[in-house]
């Protein structure tokens, strides 16, 4: 991770014109996959990711079923056309890892013990990638799970923070991820105030680490508001308050 050029200019603007505390534009559409029990499409900057949830449904193969809880299965996949050079569609080491961390970051929010002997399948398909796709994937998957009507303690929102030009910045994009100093994806349950995913690629001093995690959590809270709005929009339209009946 050696830095070759300035990623923050003299005006304090980053390569894509954002300030250091600025999130990329996030847009979430709920219910974009009709066949799934729950789904969401997220545009997180240039990332375009589709998440679909099936279940609770029967477990196949049957031996995978747990008698006291539901099995959560996640698949993160990047489509061959999601990157500038063709990506081999076979699951890579990186995708297997992201599938695993994604599952582990969603599990604490789900009340899996409510659906014993069943399975919930979460499919996250990256259609276009631009750094931070695991965070965007987790965010979309959480919305899709809520859309599928699965009992949840809280939503999960995810956002990365990192170090660029010795400065801690929010929401790292692809260039900053490749050329910057550090990248730290964080998934967070805003109501429970619990972190469900914390990864770090790069080096940070203890002070920088604290600043970085604070910033990432602040980012998660911003993402959470967007998730909330997207779900409200799908189910209740523009009404936010229920009119009391006479």
């Amino acid at each position: 991770m050696t830095q070759t050029r300035n990623l923050i200019d003299t005006n304090g603007k980053r390569t894509d014109g954002r300030g250091i505390d600025e999130l990329r534009e996030v847009k979430i559409t709920v219910g974009s996959v009709k066949n799934a029990d729950g789904s969401a499409f997220i545009e997180f900057g240039k990332n375009k990711i589709l998440a679909a949830v099936y279940g609770p449904r029967e477990v196949h193969p049957k031996h995978m079923a747990q008698s006291d809880r539901c099995v959560l299965r996640c698949r993160y996949h990047m489509s061959p056309f999601s990157t500038d050079t063709r990506k081999n569609p076979a699951p890579s080491r990186r995708e297997v890892e992201i599938s695993k961390v994604m599952r582990e970051s969603l599990e604490p929010a789900l009340m899996l013990e409510d659906y014993p002997r069943a399975a919930i399948d979460v499919f996250v398909e990256v259609l276009q990638s631009d750094g931070g796709s695991r965070c965007a994937g987790i965010t979309a998957a959480a919305v899709a799970l809520a859309d599928a009507g699965i009992n949840m303690r809280d939503l999960v929102a995810a956002c990365a923070a990192g170090k660029v030009d010795e400065k801690i910045v929010l929401d790292i994009n692809d260039t900053e991820d490749k050329e910057g100093g550090a990248d730290m994806p964080v998934a967070y349950m805003p109501r429970l105030e619990q972190v469900t995913l914390l990864q770090l690629d790069g080096r940070l001093s203890p002070d920088q680490f604290n600043e970085c995690i604070d910033k990432a959590i602040r980012g998660c809270k911003m993402v959470y508001e967007i998730q909330k709005q997207a779900l409200m929009q799908k189910y209740f339209g523009n009404e936010t308050e229920l009119k009391e009946e006479v």
Binding site: R57, A118, G149
Partner: protein, 259 residues
């Protein structure tokens, strides 16, 4: 009664309330676990969900399809993540003998049945019974699936919605709480229209003035004359009112759009 829209993780109330349905209690706060309409009443707090698959509950009336049978029971698909079992003893009586009694005389693979969930405790698959009035094989009809969360809306307040559809299209509509609906009628046009109306209810369940729009679709005047006598009686088909009445309790609370 206080009502509001919630998503998972939303605080509904604080204080000494009892969590009833889709609500968890963390310390002194009550938190929603599903998307839906939260209701704070005297007996506790609950969330009426607006999405989700069917999870069986004891005493639910369901419509299922026989998918297999062993020497002692039938396996029934009830549109859930658990397949249900109908024991042969339930049909033949306690002295059922696999050697003497021919199970295929009653139900064959592919038959649709209405049944009640007798037992289900999540450690075992749900057990069905057909030993009640109007339960058993459905001889004919057009089956369709809707989301189980839309069933109360399809029935409407005291069966108003489904009665409107039945009367206007001269059909009988059987509704299982698992979201399977069977439409029977004399004319194919009537059935087709009823199916269209049911699908419309499913898609627009959460919108206001739905009954009005259904009436427009079915060409019904605003205050329809009582047509009880002109309803087509279909022999052997259980009365839909039976099933409706058990769904009543859920449905009453869900009626938010009817003004």
């Amino acid at each position: 009664m206080k009502r509001r829209y919630v998503i998972p993780g939303d605080k509904i109330a604080e204080g000494n309330f009892r969590p009833l349905m889709n609500v968890i209690k963390a310390g002194n706060t009550l938190i929603a676990t599903r998307i839906g309409i939260a209701e704070t009443g005297r007996d506790g707090v609950k969330v009426i969900p607006l999405s989700g698959v069917y999870i069986p509950r004891v005493n639910d009336l369901v419509i299922g399809k026989i998918i297999d049978h062993s020497s002692l029971s039938w396996e029934v698909d009830i549109n859930s993540c658990f397949s249900a079992h109908l024991p042969a003893q339930d049909v033949f009586g306690r002295d059922f003998s696999p050697a003497r009694d021919d199970m295929s005389r009653h139900f064959a693979v592919g038959d649709m049945i209405t049944a009640r969930i007798m037992a289900f405790d999540r450690t075992r698959d749900p057990m069905l019974t057909v030993q009640d009035r109007d339960l058993g094989k459905i001889p004919r009809g057009e089956a369709l699936k809707i989301s189980a969360t839309r069933v109360p809306r399809l029935i409407g307040k005291r069966g108003s919605m489904i009665q409107t559809i039945e009367q206007a299209t001269q059909t009988r509509v059987l509704i299982g709480q698992n979201g399977i609906v069977v439409v029977t009628g004399r004319t194919p046009e009537g059935i087709k229209l009823a199916v269209r109306a049911i699908k419309m209810v499913e898609e627009e369940a959460h919108t206001a003035n739905l009954t009005q729009r259904i009436k427009v679709l079915l060409n019904v005047p605003d205050t329809p004359p009582q047509q009880e006598t002109s309803r087509a009686p279909v022999g052997g088909v259980p009365k839909s009112e039976e099933i409706e009445s058990t769904a009543d309790e859920v449905e009453e609370e869900l009626e938010v759009d009817e003004k």
